[in-house]
């Protein structure tokens, strides 16, 4: 009898310890980023591009990377959205869940979801060369769009599948076409989920380095053209970290802080918007 009690106690202890370790690690990571990044964070960092001698410790900031990341992730998410919505609506409104097309598409999405981002980077690089593109914002957008498409599709699909079929039936029994049901009813019911999916994809796209390292290049300039290379925050962190000059390394920490804050903000925004759009959702 006592043996069991001890066993129970020991394992409860281990369990709580594990949970604490996991959360403490999260805390430590954020704390480190803040602690190291905050001192080096200045208005200059956010509002200027690297000036001459930036990489030697002189003036400038990472505005090029901030805007580059935003444009790249934004463009990629938009592209992915334009593709995801039709796919998910088709799968949930027009085709039968057990049809071969349905199953194959969902399987393809599952596979694409799991592909490591470096493989997308390598594929994007190949595509880039085949299309005659140089390392550019456009190449980066295309590659990241590929990366986030399955993430967006899966998130949207999951929400739509949970929508009660009776809702669509109510629409059909009023004489609506499938398109009308998809656009007016299903999309409205799933709006919070759709918004969350887009922001989830955006967050993933903005933080990924492996997909852009081969395709978007890097530059000190602001992203003004689709055909020129674009800087991204993850790469800015990576490059600045690799120098022996301490001031530049500190800027890497600051850039990492900026990136982390951006992502946390997007996460927060996603929750707020989802709640806002739940107004009309039928349980």
């Amino acid at each position: 009898m006592n043996g069991r009690r001890i066993e129970e106690g020991v394992f409860q202890g281990l369990m709580i310890a594990s949970t604490l370790i996991i959360f403490l690690t999260l805390g430590m990571i954020i704390a480190t980023v803040v602690a190291e990044g905050l001192p080096a964070l200045s208005l200059q960092m956010i509002t200027q591009t690297p000036q001459g001698g930036y990489y030697l410790g002189k003036e400038g900031g990472v505005l090029n990377a901030i805007l580059g990341s935003l444009f790249l992730a934004g463009g990629a998410s938009l592209l992915a959205l334009v593709m995801s919505l039709p796919v998910v609506l088709y799968l949930n409104v027009y085709s039968h869940p057990r049809s071969p097309l349905s199953r194959f598409t969902r399987f393809s999405l599952d596979v694409l979801w799991g592909v490591p981002s470096i493989v997308y980077g390598a594929f994007g690089f190949t595509l880039m060369i085949a299309l005659g593109l140089k390392a550019s914002l456009l190449a980066g957008i295309l590659t990241v769009a590929l990366l986030v498409l399955p993430i967006m599709c899966r998130a949207m699909d999951e929400v739509m599948r949970m929508s009660p079929p009776e809702l669509a039936e109510a629409s059909y029994s009023l004489g609506a076409t499938r398109l009308e049901t998809a656009l007016h009813i299903l999309s409205r019911q799933c709006l919070p989920g759709i918004v969350t999916a887009v922001l989830l994809a955006f967050g993933r796209g903005i933080g990924d380095a492996a997909s852009v390292i081969l395709t978007a290049g890097f530059t000190d300039a602001l992203p003004t053209s689709l055909l020129r290379p674009a800087a991204t925050l993850p790469l800015a962190v990576f490059f600045q970290l690799g120098t022996p000059i301490p001031e530049v390394r500190e800027r890497a920490y600051a850039s990492a802080l900026i990136l982390t804050l951006l992502i946390l903000l997007i996460s927060l925004l996603s929750r707020l918007l989802a709640r806002k759009f739940t107004r009309h959702v039928v349980r």
Binding site: H96, R98, P164, E166, L167, E169, A170, S171, Y172, S173, L174, G175, A176, T177, E180, H184, I185, R188, Q189, R279, H280, V281, V282, R283
Partner: protein, 253 residues
């Protein structure tokens, strides 16, 4: 009983895969009267109702043979526009399912998709149908609020208003009050009695007393077959078939 037929069911058979739900149903549904389809659970009542507005098309593996003629055309004809058929039939389901929009938009949804767009036309339309469903007084100050905030009884009346707004000729009710409390049930039943002057109403119900209260005409199904059909008076007082007698008497249910 003298009546004009509105829906003529001719030799209708429906099966889901290998399971037969309806076998050779032939029956006439009278115009501008309340017809109650009764029978024990699983006898095919809902399937018959779903065939009327071709919602049966959405069921996986459903196969239909035979014809249903409404206003001179067979609704299963390949050339027929399904959306037009459904517009003719308003459906009230067992569990009210409001659309994810405001109360106003719920009622306006039908007219909007069928072409009516302007607020000038929609405003009086929404009010009219909410009145017909006996819901106007309760919601007139909060038309822009989400419909999901209404009580179940109110939601069912909203679904009635929504269904009426597409100006159907026929109202179909699939156990329309079984999810409601007695007070709301009575309200819905009241509406049906008043609406039958303008619409043909077909309701499926397993509550015999409800059928007795409402029906002018009764159709009795058992295990997918039509056992008996006729004016309510005759069926309830003097049923011809043994099985009908047993069901009405309560021996089988």
């Amino acid at each position: 009983m003298d009546f004009k037929t509105h829906i003529s069911v001719r030799d209708l058979s429906v099966s889901y895969g290998t399971a037969v739900a309806l076998k050779n149903i032939t029956v006439e549904i009278p115009e501008k009267k309340i017809t109650a389809i009764i029978g024990p659970s699983g006898c095919g009542k809902s399937t018959l109702l779903k065939s009327f507005n071709r919602m049966i098309d959405l069921a996986e593996g459903a196969r239909v043979s035979g014809a249903i003629v409404v206003d001179g055309e067979n609704i299963f004809d390949p050339g027929v526009e399904v959306t037009a058929i459904r517009k003719k039939m308003g459906l009230l389901s067992q569990r009210p399912f409001v659309l994810p929009m405001s109360i106003y938009d719920n009622v306006a949804y039908g007219p909007r998709i069928h072409g009516t767009g302007s607020r000038k036309v929609l405003d009086p339309l929404v009010e009219r149908y909410l009145r017909e469903a006996d819901l106007w007084e309760e919601v007139k100050d909060r038309l822009s609020q989400p419909a999901s905030r209404l009580s179940v009884g109110q939601q069912q009346r909203l679904c009635l208003a929504r269904g009426l707004a597409v100006e159907p000729e026929i109202i179909l009710g699939d156990e329309p009050t079984s999810a409601l409390d007695p007070k709301s049930s009575r309200k819905i039943e009241q509406r049906f009695l008043e609406l039958k002057d303008d619409y043909t109403i077909v309701i499926v119900t397993h509550i015999l007393r409800q059928a007795k209260r409402l029906a002018d005409y009764v159709v009795f199904l058992y295990l997918g077959e039509l056992i008996e059909a006729g004016p309510a008076q005759e069926i309830f007082r003097n049923p011809q078939k043994e099985m009908t007698r047993e069901y009405i008497g309560g021996t089988i249910s």
